[in-house]
Symmetry: C2
Subunit: 252 residues, 2 copies
């Protein structure tokens, strides 16, 4: 039996999703909790890795398990630490794959542009300077559509040769001092959301013109852009297994 799980986690205490020697990872923590219930080693497969300090409200993973449990999700949550929580668990077809079946992903990037907030250290990027979100929204249009995002990610060409991805939609919203940039796209490469977000911040601060940003994109060159946003502001919100039609309306 294959299970699909949606999981929410606070990435603060972890070295990211993927298992790493000597470091605490989300994957390892969930696999260890699963082992306590199932009494055998089970490997879980995520829709993609999240980096150290990055959060998730809708990461998806799957695993295979032949045993049955009355309330598997509740049992698993009871073995997990407080900062990881399985929101849903359901049996799926054997050919479902959390990564390869995914149609699009939704990421949010949070920025506090008001006074420095010591309570948000691990939950947003803090600029200490006010940002013009109308400008950010205007610049974000450069990224919309199908583009080669080679300039705006850290995945090596040797690893993933084709770096063409489609971004369906970007929303920039403000709630008080908190700015939320929401991205919907068919795939995001390493650091891509953080790099795009930092470009929009730099644009809002007047450090980057529309022409410069367009040239960076067109360069298709890893050396074109040196910006990268802090991981703490990044949230994997949803992995969708239905084609993108109309973007879900992001709510505050």
């Amino acid at each position: 039996m294959r299970y699909k799980c949606i999981v929410s986690y606070d990435g603060t205490a972890y070295a990211g999703w993927q298992r790493q020697n000597g470091k605490r990872s989300i994957q390892q923590t969930i696999e260890e909790a699963l082992k306590k219930i199932v009494c055998q080693d089970i490997k879980i497969y995520a829709s993609g890795r999240t980096d150290a300090q990055v959060h998730a409200r809708g990461q998806v993973f799957h695993f295979d398990c032949d045993k049955k449990f009355a309330d598997f999700r509740k049992a698993l949550n009871s073995q997990l630490p407080k900062d990881i929580y399985i929101l849903s668990m359901e049996p799926v077809a054997d050919d479902f794959h959390s990564r390869f079946s995914a149609c699009y992903k939704h990421y949010d990037y949070l920025i506090n542009d008001g006074d420095y907030d010591p309570l948000m250290v691990n939950y947003c990027c803090q600029t200490n300077r006010k940002l013009d979100i109308a400008l950010m929204e205007k610049f974000s249009k450069i990224f919309i559509g199908e583009h080669d995002f080679t300039s705006f990610n850290a995945t090596k060409k040797a690893e993933v040769e084709n770096q063409v991805r489609t971004i369906y939609r970007i929303d920039v919203k403000r709630h008080g001092n908190m700015i939320k940039i929401s991205y919907y796209g068919n795939g995001f490469l390493r650091y891509m959301v953080r790099i795009l977000s930092q470009c929009l911040i730099e644009a809002a601060l007047g450090n980057l013109t529309e022409k410069q940003l367009t040239e960076m994109l067109e360069a298709e060159d890893k050396r074109a852009c040196h910006y990268n946003g802090q991981p703490q502001g990044l949230y994997l919100m949803e992995v969708s297994y239905k084609p993108y039609l109309v973007a879900p309306v992001a709510e505050w």
Copy 2:
């Protein structure tokens, strides 16, 4: 020269405001940072203690220091860890006292009554059951005004004999799954806001009638109420040095 400071902090990593042997406290952390700048021992005096895990967005403390600095606040912030931040620092009259000059305080208590949220573990109380805020608001009226709050706090009578306090206003607001209870009063005893908040939660869950809550208050007896809310939901929002006239409108 006497200085008044307003400080914001994330209480998660601390054993509370007050210095304690062998434990990391907010007071100690700020005093150590001050010492690095002023090069002498300086004692700071807060408007009141906050307990372990409790947060502040407007705690006030004062201290005396004869040295002058170009940007004292910036210098102090540069020596503080990321989870403590001095919002303002200003010279005040020598007879100003953060505790004895205070007129009223504003505390917020945050409750998530939706799905368990692993990202909010340290920042709110989580009930896992929906609460009727109209009921909470109705019950909160019992606490408004001048009352002997002996039944609803953990301060010993031997320590503070007079446990009469005035609550000017209580607001209960919802934003999605997050409920915020705001308290404005001339003084709050140990655990008082947490106990009152848990009473309102129990009332909303149907575990407490209006008659029972009124009887608890009238009992003026430490044994009358056994409820206490989690510290993580509590925020000291403001200490006011002007008499309470019209409550500041709490914003979401």
